[in-house]
């Protein structure tokens, strides 16, 4: 007997494990008949998951936590038994802002502290001559993009709420907004950074892996009560996603994976752009400059798929830092409980685990993250809304 499931996703490359699980037959092999539903907004994905129109979803990790905490919306506890991706975002800036930053930089431009300090100088000069504050686009209030942009610029002394404007933009509108000058920069996932570069309207300034070595991005999310009622179906879904992630991470399968993902009803972009993202081999400037990174987007390799509650704590700490959440031990516990390595292990056993898992986070600035002392950790950062 096959189990029908409806799963929502946003057309982004980090939905790869989910899409390949369905289109390459890994889900069917686990007895699942999955209908993938392409959505246009994170609000829709969240709401349809919350009210049961979706059984599972490709979801921004911070949205899963915000939903469980009841921040900004209805409180619905979410369980995340599988990371669909680590890293994968990039910061892209307009050619004029790129030139301005490069004019102020005093170190290697791939060093985030160097660009953040240069940005601070650009911001100060603009203020002095009475120019409008710079505008940065990101995808959602509770998004990794929001926190990554804020973390980066604040490290250089730019207050993201006072010195610049941060605005939410749907990913498909990012490139147009950069081209038209509505925003000066954005932080978004693949393929949008590459598309901006290909069109000659943006330079990729940073891969998020420059800012955080290991940052959870999207998770496979289900309602907690659904997870409790359907443990076997959930385990089957986790296994299917794991097999798909394994498939994608084999270099010889990348071209096929990119073709699957590029289909019009899935991500609907050029397969070549998708493959550049999976390979971590990206064109970063309209002049054709390429940059390689072994950490651009991790879909399952290096133990990426196994949820790590420390990652959830880091995201919660960002919510506290920027005034979205108040600090409490209960809230921290709730946030960490969203990430479910126990469900991942129940589905995969030993196979899914690394003997020596790499450490979480690895931010370029501030002290090493301590999930047991969030207040102390945040006290080390000068800029914040606490």
């Amino acid at each position: 007997m096959t189990i029908p499931l409806r799963i929502g996703f946003i057309p982004l490359v980090d939905a790869a494990a989910l899409i390949v699980a369905v289109d390459k037959g890994f889900a069917a092999a686990e007895g699942l008949d999955v209908t993938l539903v392409r959505e246009v907004s994170w609000s829709n994905v969240r709401d349809k998951l919350n009210i049961g129109l979706f059984d599972a979803a490709h979801l921004l990790a911070p949205v899963a936590i915000a939903s469980s905490l009841g921040l900004g919306h209805v409180k619905v506890p979410i369980a995340a038994p599988f990371n669909l991706g680590l890293n994968g975002n990039a910061i892209t800036v307009s050619p004029p802002l790129h030139a301005a930053i490069m004019g102020e930089i005093s170190d290697d431009p791939f060093v985030p502290m160097a660009t953040a300090l240069a940005l601070a100088r650009v911001v100060a000069k603009r203020r002095k001559r009475g120019a409008e504050p710079l505008t940065f686009g990101m995808t959602f209030p509770f998004s990794t993009h929001n926190y990554q942009l804020r973390f980066w610029m604040a490290a250089g002394g730019v207050d993201p709420d006072e010195d610049v404007r941060l605005v939410v933009l749907p990913p498909p509108y990012m490139v147009d907004s950069l081209a038209s000058g509505h925003v000066d920069a954005f932080c978004v996932g693949a393929p949008w950074n590459s598309i901006a570069v290909d069109l000659g309207v943006g330079h990729i300034l940073h891969f998020v892996a420059d800012i955080l070595v290991r940052a959870v991005e999207k998770v496979l999310a289900v309602r907690q009560d659904w997870a409790e009622k359907n443990p076997e179906v959930l385990a089957a879904l986790v296994r299917a996603a794991f097999r798909a992630a394994e498939f994608i991470e084999q270099p010889q399968n990348r071209a096929e994976a990119a073709r699957i993902l590029a289909q019009p009803e899935r991500i609907g972009v050029n397969a070549d752009v998708v493959q550049r993202t999976l390979d971590g081999h990206l064109k970063i400037s309209p002049d054709g400059t390429m940059r390689e990174s072994s950490r651009y987007l991790l879909v399952g390799r290096e133990g990426a798929a196994r949820p790590d509650p420390v990652q959830a704590a880091w995201l919660y700490a960002q919510m506290v830092r920027w005034g979205q959440a108040s600090i409490s031990p209960e809230a921290l516990r709730t946030a960490q409980a969203v990430f479910r390595p126990d469900l991942y292990d129940a589905a995969l056993g030993r196979e899914g685990k690394l003997a020596d898992p790499p450490g979480a986070i690895g931010a370029f600035a501030g002290p090493a993250f301590d999930a047991n002392d969030i207040a102390g950790h945040l006290a080390a950062f000068a800029i914040g809304r606490r």
């Binding site: 246009v40 907004s41 994170w42 609000s43 829709n44 709401d47 349809k48 919350n50 009210i51 129109l53 900004g72 919306h73 209805v74 995808t139 959602f140 209030p141 709420d161 006072e162 404007r165 941060l166 605005v167 939410v168 933009l169 749907p170 990913p171 498909p172 509108y173 907004s177 038209s180 509505h182 005034g323 979205q324």
Partner: protein, 196 residues
């Protein structure tokens, strides 16, 4: 906003027809302060300029995420959204998501003042969806008609049939293969294209 004044409503919808249907319904119900925004650039700035009490947005619109920003207290957000209307009860969440619309309340409007707006919105969205569906079906029936006519032409020419005989052949084949006449006709067109 005074207690007797109708709330100011903004409709964010890229479909001009649906927005007009909704706007008309709201006006008939006495909600006179209705403005339609169809242009998504600088959406937040436009909304701030209008300073509405209620914002209605269709769920096909990616800019829904832009509105979520209004829940935040920040420099960019001048008047935070107090409530997502659907927070009030589960049935209305279901009904509005099914209808494809979402509502945000900017000011502390009372629930009983929101309810009629949302109900009207849901029924108008459903009516529009039905209309759209009928239109789509009419269109595809027209398409089928054209394909069947061309297939009949091919059968008449190749097998020397009359028009009625060609149609009967198509219909009986469709019945035997448990397919639509349009599908059989299409396969004839495809085959004749390949055999050219």
């Amino acid at each position: 906003m005074g207690a007797d004044q109708p709330p100011k409503i903004v409709i964010v919808d890229e479909s001009p027809i649906r927005a007009a249907i909704l706007e008309e319904g709201l006006r008939e119900a006495g909600f006179t302060g209705v403005v339609h925004i169809s242009e998504m650039q600088s959406l937040l700035a436009r909304i701030y300029a209008l300073d509405p009490d209620v914002i209605l947005i269709d769920l096909e619109n990616p800019s829904r995420d832009v509105l979520e920003q209004m829940f935040q207290v920040s420099r960019a957000v001048r008047r935070p959204i107090a409530m997502f209307v659907d927070q009030s009860d589960a049935a209305s969440i279901q009904a509005s998501v099914d209808a494809g619309v979402s509502a945000y309340i900017v000011d502390g409007l009372k629930k009983e003042r929101i309810k009629p707006i949302l109900d009207l919105c849901i029924s108008r969205f459903n009516a529009f969806a039905k209309l759209q569906d009928e239109l789509d079906r009419t269109k595809s029936a027209l398409e089928d008609r054209k394909v069947i006519d061309r297939a009949k032409g091919i059968l008449m020419k190749l097998k020397g049939l009359t028009e009625d005989e060609a149609y009967i052949l198509l219909r009986s084949t469709a019945m035997r293969e448990k397919k639509k006449i349009g599908e059989i006709a299409q396969s004839i067109l495809t085959a004749s294209e390949m055999l050219k």
